[in-house]
């Protein structure tokens, strides 16, 4: 069964005013359970609006959202339960920290779920460990930490609810390369352990190519494509035509193709690139 499914999902901002804008237009997509999905698209393509539908923060103007086969908006009193199932980490999540200590902040979500103190404690420690926060951080004020640490506390706050689906809106924006690799690495590790479904909104094609098995491309409020990472990068030329950058490796092969070399352009990892170049050299060497 699909973890998330949308049926003709549309969303219009400020309907009936001069500021009316269709942000999501007739999106039909089925996201499989246990997938690690990259969500890409231009600024303003509707990515952020789309993902806010997945845990009921926005109600669709038209269409339906199904979580595990159940309509999200069928019964409003159940909405909160769905929010615990689908964890959403916003852009710059460190700005939502508010508690006196890191521990209490991470515990906010699970406490809201009404779990026992023991269970909350277990989940907080587990989530903190998953993002590499150490014991000594737990009793500090979240405002004393560095930017990267704050970000990890905020992510832990969502992980602690053990959501079946984890959605992250540009979790690495504004971090240095090391902080970025660290967070993405931890997320992948967590995914491999828990087999949860992960949606990663990102502007960086390199990250998507490296971490995601499936890719969802939004373009001008519409779903452009949803498929395996390979399928998506097979259409690299279309994607770069939309103004999105493709990974550097892919760009090299697009350039080679343009120069008349007989190469595949659906290459997005170093290993593939090496193999392809070697076979090209072998051919040319003839």
């Amino acid at each position: 069964m699909a973890a998330i499914q949308t049926e003709h999902l549309s969303y219009v901002y400020s309907p009936g005013t001069p500021f009316e804008k269709t942000a999501v237009d007739d999106v039909n997509v089925e996201i499989e359970e246990g997938a690690f999905v990259g969500v890409i698209g231009h600024t303003g393509s509707g990515k952020s609006t789309l993902i806010q539908h997945f845990n009921g923060l926005l109600a669709p103007t038209k269409g339906r959202v199904l979580i595990g086969g159940e309509d999200l908006w069928a019964d409003k009193s159940k909405l909160r339960q769905f929010r615990f199932q689908v964890g959403l980490v916003f852009q710059y999540p460190e700005y939502q920290l508010f508690e006196e200590t890191v521990y209490k902040d991470i515990a906010f979500g699970p406490t809201n779920m009404g779990l026992s103190a023991d269970e909350v404690n277990r989940r907080v420690l587990e989530a903190a460990a998953a993002v590499g926060l150490r014991e000594k951080h737990m009793e500090k004020s979240p405002f004393e930490l560095s930017g990267g640490q704050k970000r990890r506390v905020a992510i832990a706050g969502v992980l602690a609810m053990r959501p079946k689906v984890l959605i992250l809106d540009e979790p690495t924006a504004g971090l240095d390369p090391r902080g970025r690799d660290r967070i993405l690495g931890q997320l992948r590790e967590y995914h491999e352990q828990m087999h949860n479904t992960v949606l990663l909104v990102s502007h960086s094609m390199e990250d998507v190519a490296r971490y995601c098995g499936r890719v969802l491309v939004m373009n001008r409020s519409r779903l452009f494509l949803y498929g395996d990472t390979r399928e998506v990068f097979e259409r690299a030329d279309e994607i770069s035509g939309m103004g999105l950058s493709v990974p550097q490796v892919t760009r090299i092969f697009l350039g080679l193709k343009e120069k008349g070399y007989d190469v595949r352009t659906s290459i997005y990892t170093m290993d593939e690139a090496k193999a392809e170049l070697l076979s090209l050299l072998a051919k040319e060497g003839k």
């Binding site: 400020s14 001069p18 806010q52 845990n55 923060l57 909160r80 929010r83 615990f84 964890g87 959403l88 916003f90 999540p93 700005y95 939502q96 920290l97 508010f98 906010f108 979500g109 809201n112 779920m113 405002f143 706050g157 969502v158 609810m161």
Partner: protein, 270 residues
């Protein structure tokens, strides 16, 4: 949900009213208020209403927006109307127990209600058709004579500009923080008063933190661009009076004169 707030909302347009000098517009609104309170006769008030209809018509601002700006003041209107109705001396019309409603009371209540409605609608027209920046600019210019009395006019205007500039930003920020806390299962809609008040803590703390951060950054950015107060500062957009500004002022004067004339000459119909 917070997006629906209309206080000080500006709807860009190209009508004459939009193009009027913002100083003139402020003065006109003041004159309009004086006119409303001068009117002592229903015909005078009618003139005020016609003025309003004309203004909204020319500026092509939807009349529906009047209703939206009136919504928050409905309780005040009702409250003053009831007070006026109950506590005016005069010819009694209705007597229930110790409550007496007088003819004068009803008259006063209706007059006050109409005046407040016109007042709100009139001032809303000002904010609907004038950008906040133009407004504060005009206030600064109008108050500049006070500078001789060492009133920090420029600083006050700058503070107002900044405050207005940050209203939408903070609203957006609040929306975002609320969404983020809701995603963590925060519940703002149910529970008793105390619980609801407590539920606001996860919103207010991050909001304050970010407001202070923004203030800090803004101060730094202003200093980096050598801001040092109003002394010797020139403007990018100079305010100029044009012929339509004089036409508008003339029209306003005619309306006020008309109101006074009606007060003295027209028969008392109500």
């Amino acid at each position: 949900m917070l997006r629906d707030i209309t206080i000080g909302q500006y709807f860009p347009g190209k009508s004459v009213i939009h193009r009027l000098d913002s100083r003139v517009k402020i003065l006109l609104v003041m004159a309009y208020i004086i006119m409303l309170f001068l009117a002592d006769n229903p015909l005078g008030l009618l003139l005020g209403i016609l003025f309003l209809i004309l203004g909204y018509g020319i500026s092509r601002i939807s009349y529906k927006l009047i209703l939206r700006s009136l919504k928050p003041v409905v309780p005040i209107i009702l409250f003053t109307a009831v007070l006026n109705m109950l506590f005016m001396d005069g010819r009694p019309v209705l007597r229930v127990w110790i409550i007496t409603v007088t003819y004068e009371g009803i008259r006063m209540a209706v007059f006050m209600a109409v005046r407040i409605i016109c007042l709100i609608a009139g001032t809303s027209l000002l904010t609907y058709t004038t950008s906040p920046i133009a407004l504060t600019d005009a206030i600064e210019r109008l108050l500049s004579p006070l500078k001789t009395l060492h009133v920090p006019v420029h600083e006050l205007a700058m503070m107002m500009t900044i405050a207005l500039r940050f209203i939408p930003t903070l609203i957006e920020e609040t929306d975002k923080i609320m969404a983020a806390q809701k995603a963590r299962g925060a519940d703002f809609e149910t529970g008793r008063l105390m619980q609801r008040a407590k539920a606001l803590v996860p919103i207010l703390i991050p909001l304050f933190v970010s407001a202070f951060r923004r203030a800090d950054e803004l101060a730094l950015a202003m200093e980096c661009r050598c801001y040092h107060g109003g002394e010797g500062r020139t403007r990018m957009k100079q305010l100029h009076l044009r012929y339509y500004d004089f036409v508008a002022c003339g029209f306003m004067l005619c309306c006020i004169a008309g109101t006074i004339l009606i007060n003295y000459c027209a028969p008392v119909v109500f």
